[in-house]
Amino acid sequence: MRTPAAPPESAGAPLRPLLWACAAFAGGVLLHADRVPPWATAVALLLVLWRLLSAQRSRLPGATARALLALALLAVVLVRFHTLNGLAAGTTLLLLMAGLKLLETRAARDQCVMVGAGLFLLLAACLDRQELARTPLYGLQAWLCSFRGSPALSGQFRAAISR
């Protein structure tokens, strides 16, 4: 995005914040699994998997590949929904674009963006359905995004506040 020469994971970069950011996003995706088309859920989860696998081998797709993917996914949403407005089309678009954003997470800032996307997906789920039975799911997602998703959070502080 900014510095193409920099390796995606520097030697000391911790994997754990990335894992939690992925978890926060994946939680948001799963909240919508029965509402958005199955292919959108599948693509979003596939992107998460791709990011996690590339963290191991330190390779991420280049800017052109990402741009092409974004255009293609945008076109698919347009063809399927005939609009980009509205809750259903908007949520699908958010899922896909946030999934693409995940492919360029390098710094803590990008992981904050992922957590924000998770929160927005949670909000969309709240707008969509507010049955009492789903409240625990929403609570779980809010916990993932606020307490666990924060890239700045270290294990020691959790130990300190749990005392």
Partner: protein
């Protein structure tokens, strides 16, 4: 978040001069408001400042959007989520403040170094709480940044590197202590205004041979032994003394470690004079003198230093070495010695 990227070159911005002027103004205001700190200092409530980081601002914007969406759709659950997260942010602000509040700044010293090397400000931080303080960052105005986790009831020493390009004095007017923990949504910080000076010795350089027996001309030799060493007495062992001079027999009799002291013959009593090196320019002369001082001390010889206006009688030991090198470092500068 700004502090973590301080080392990287900033992008050019039209507001940079404005921001610099504003920063300088704020710095002066804080200095007036807080006064000079005498270490040790406990960071108290009145001197901590706290503002949201960029992530915190982004999170606030997200919260505002969520509020709008909740109001627009008249959706109670969305509103509840928004208020819950707002409460979370407020608690985070309090926790961030508490993470820094009450931290002890125990000591700050900067040991002298040679020019063209890197010195360090050694800052000792203390935590008197039963909970750890996480990721406290210390930063110098010169740019060095170090972070440390302070476990419960401990003291830790941080080393902030400081470039020492030329001889003289590097002044450190203030040190910034800050933290963005937990969650990085807020940054609490304070400035510790404690005047610390880093003394920079001249770079020891030069290939001229040491002047031998220059004492004979000036007559500063304490005794006129005819070339042979003269017994002077015993004195306690100091770091840097040669093992050959230790009185091992006395040590075997369970006496403390003593060193046999002699007044050395003429060839081992050196006097380094600034005026001897008239063919070099001033900095080269000081470098050469520093080289001789370092070498003479390493060989355990006694040496003195004559500079215009400064006269250090022959002696040896780490303190004498420091006195000589400090005189060289401050030569010709208006700065008062530390």
């Amino acid at each position: 978040m700004g502090a973590t990227t301080a080392g990287a070159p900033r992008r050019w911005s039209p507001f940079a001069p404005l921001a610099a002027a504003l920063n300088a103004r704020t710095a002066r205001w804080m200095r007036r408001r807080q006064g000079v700190d005498q270490l040790p200092v406990v960071l108290e409530r009145r001197r901590l400042y706290i503002l949201p980081t960029r992530a915190g601002l982004a999170f606030s914007a997200l919260l505002f959007l969520m509020l709008l969406a909740g109001l627009n759709y008249a959706n109670s659950l969305a509103l509840f989520l928004t208020f819950l997260l707002t409460g979370f942010v407020l608690v985070v602000m309090q926790q961030c403040h508490r993470n820094l509040l009450g931290t002890e700044v125990v000591a700050g010293i900067a040991p002298a170094v040679f020019a063209r090397s890197t010195g360090a400000l050694q800052l000792t931080l203390g935590n008197t709480l039963d909970v750890p303080r996480l990721h406290l960052e210390a930063r110098l105005p010169q740019g060095a940044l170090r972070a440390v986790d302070l476990p419960a009831r401990t003291r830790l020493r941080l080393e902030l590197p400081l470039a020492a390009p030329a001889r003289g004095v590097v002044r450190i007017d203030r040190v910034r202590l800050s933290t963005a923990q937990p969650f990085g949504l807020f940054r609490a910080w304070t400035w510790v205004h404690t005047p610390i000076t880093l003394l920079v010795y001249p770079h020891p350089h030069g290939a001229l041979p040491m002047p031998a027996d220059s004492a004979r001309h000036t007559g500063t030799r304490p005794h006129a032994g005819a070339g042979a060493d003269e017994w002077l007495g015993l004195r306690p062992f100091r770091d840097g003394d040669s093992p050959r001079q230790v009185d091992w027999k006395a040590y075997a009799r369970e006496a403390p470690l003593l060193v046999k002291e002699y007044v050395h013959g003429a060839s081992e009593l050196r006097l380094f004079e600034f005026s001897q090196l008239a063919h070099l320019d001033q900095e080269a002369r000081l470098s050469q003198l520093a080289r001789w001082v370092v070498d003479a001390e390493a060989h355990g010889e006694r040496y003195g230093l004559l500079l215009p206006g400064v006269r250090l009688l022959p002696d040896r030991g780490p303190e004498h070495r420091h006195r000589c090198l400090a005189a060289l470092a401050l030569f010709g500068l208006a700065e008062a010695p530390v």
